[in-house]
C-alpha cells in the first residue's frame, strides 16, 4: 500500500518522536533511521513505493 502523505508537513522531529516512545522496537527503528541518515554505510535504501518515483542519483566520491 502506498504511503498517504498529509496536506501539511508533519515535521521530521514529531515523526521520530513516535518511534522513540514506541518502546524497545521503536529505539531500534530510530537507531536504523539514524544509521541511514547520518552514517551512510550499510544504510537501508528508502523503499520505492510508486512507479512514479525516480531514484535519486547519488554521485560517488
Amino acid at each position: 500500500m502506498n504511503l498517504t502523505f498529509a496536506y501539511f508537513d508533519p515535521s521530521a522531529g514529531s515523526l521520530l518522536l513516535q518511534a522513540l516512545v514506541g518502546g524497545f522496537g521503536g529505539i531500534v527503528v530510530v537507531g536504523r533511521y539514524l544509521w541511514t541518515q547520518y552514517l551512510g554505510s550499510g544504510a537501508t535504501q528508502p523503499a520505492l513505493t510508486s512507479s512514479h518515483e525516480i531514484p535519486v542519483h547519488i554521485p560517488s566520491r
Binding site: G13, L15, L16, L17, Q18, V21, G23, G25, V29
Partner: protein, 471 residues
Amino acid sequence: MIQFDSGSFRDRTSRVFLRDNGVFRALTAESKAIWNKAAQSSFLQNLMASGLIVETEELSADQASSFLLPAEFVAILSHRRIPFVSYPYEWSFGMLRRAALDHLQILTEAVRSGFILKDASPYNVQFCGAQSVFIDLGSLIELAPGEPWSAYRQFCELMLFPLLLQSYRGVHFQPLLRAQLEGISAKQFMQWMRWRDLFRPGVFVNGWLQSALERNTQSLSTSTVRDLRSSGFHTSMIERMLQKLTRLVEKLKWTPARTQWTAYDTTLPHVADDLQAKSEFVAAVCRNKHRHLVWDLGCNDGRYSIIAAEHADLVVAMDQDHACIEHLYQTLATKKQSTILPLCVELANSSPALGWRGRERKRLEDRGRPELVMCLGLIHHLVLAGNIPLPEVIDWLASFGGEIILEFPSKDDSMVKALLRNKRDQYTDYSLERLEAELLKRFDISSCRPLPSGARTLFHAVPKTSSAVTE
C-alpha cells in the same frame, strides 16, 4: 456551480458545502474509494451509532447528479447539520479536553481497523449543546503499514499544548488559539514552561523532546515518513503513543479559581432578591412561542439559559468568565444536555472573522440569527465598564433582528455604584429614559417590569417591522 464553504479548502480531496439547509461533502475518486471501505467497517458504523461521529449517508447517483460539482468530485455525502458552529477559542478547558479525548478514541479505533485520521484539528469536532461530535469524515484515510501518525504535531499544537498550558500554568488557551489558528508550537510551549515543569507528565516528551528533534531535523532532505517505514516503523508504535496520550489527557485538570461571577446569583443580596421575578419574566416570554435559536449574553451560571432551553431548539450561553462557562459545561455534559451550548465569549470583543481572507472562521454574529437575545445583568458592564455608548449597545442588539429581554440596572443599583466608585461618571446616556427612547427607535416594548430590589427593570422588546423603522 456549487460554492464550497469558505473554511473548507485545505484538503482538496473532500470539501464541504451547504445547500437547502443541508450540509454536504464532495468527494474526489480517491476519497470516495476510502469512504466505500470505511462505510463497510464496523468501527465507523459503531462510532456513528454511538453519536461520536456525525450521522452521514452517501447520496445516490441520481440525487448527486442534481448538484453541479466540479469535475474532480465524484460523490456526495450528506451530514447531519450542527445547529451552531463554534470554534476551539470559544470553548472552555473541559470542552477542548473532550474534543481531544474524542479525537484520540476515534483515532485509536481507526488504527485498529486499518484506518487513520490524516489531520488532528479540534475544528473537526463540534458541540451539539454539550455533546461533542466529530464532523470531518474526509479526514479518514487508510493506514499504510509502517506509516507514522502524520498529524501528531498538529494534535500537540492545537489540543495537547493548549490543555497542558492551562492545566499546568493556568494560562488560558483561548486568546492564543484565536490569534494563532495553527496552534502553539513546541518551542513556544516550552517558553511558557518552567524547568520544574519538565517533570510533569507530558512536558518532557511532547514538549522538550519534540522541540529539540524539530530543531535538529530541519535540514533533512529526505522524506522521514518513507525513511521511518524502511527502518521498520510499526503501527503498534502509534497505538502505544495513542494510549499514552489518552492517559495523559484524561488526567489533565483545570480547577478554576473562584471569580466574582462564579457564585454571583446567590451571594449578592440584590441579585438573590430579584432571582424569582427574573426567572418568571424569562419563562413567560420563552413559553410564549417555540424558538429555534436563543442567545443568552452574559449567561453566568446558565440559570436563564436552562429556562429558555425548555422552549427552544438551542440556547447559546455566552460569558467572558471562563470559570462560569467551565462549570456550566461540566453540569450540562453530566446531564448529556444537547440544547444549551456554553461558549467563552467576551462580548465587547467577540470572535471576529479569521483565517485566509477573513473567511475561514466566521465571526460570531454570522453563525446564526437568534430569534431571542437575553441580555440580563450585562448592559451596565458594556456601558460603564466597557465604555460602549448605550445607543451603540441597543443598535448592536437590534442588528440580530430578534426579540430581546433586557435588564437595566439604574445608577441606584449597588453593582452600578461599584462600577462607578473610582471613575468619573461621564455616562449621561446611561438612564432609564434614554434606554426607553433608544429601544423605541428599533423595538416595540412588549412588557416591562421593575424588579423587587427597586433599582432594576426588565424589558421584553420585539423588533419593529422594517417599514416602521424607516418611518
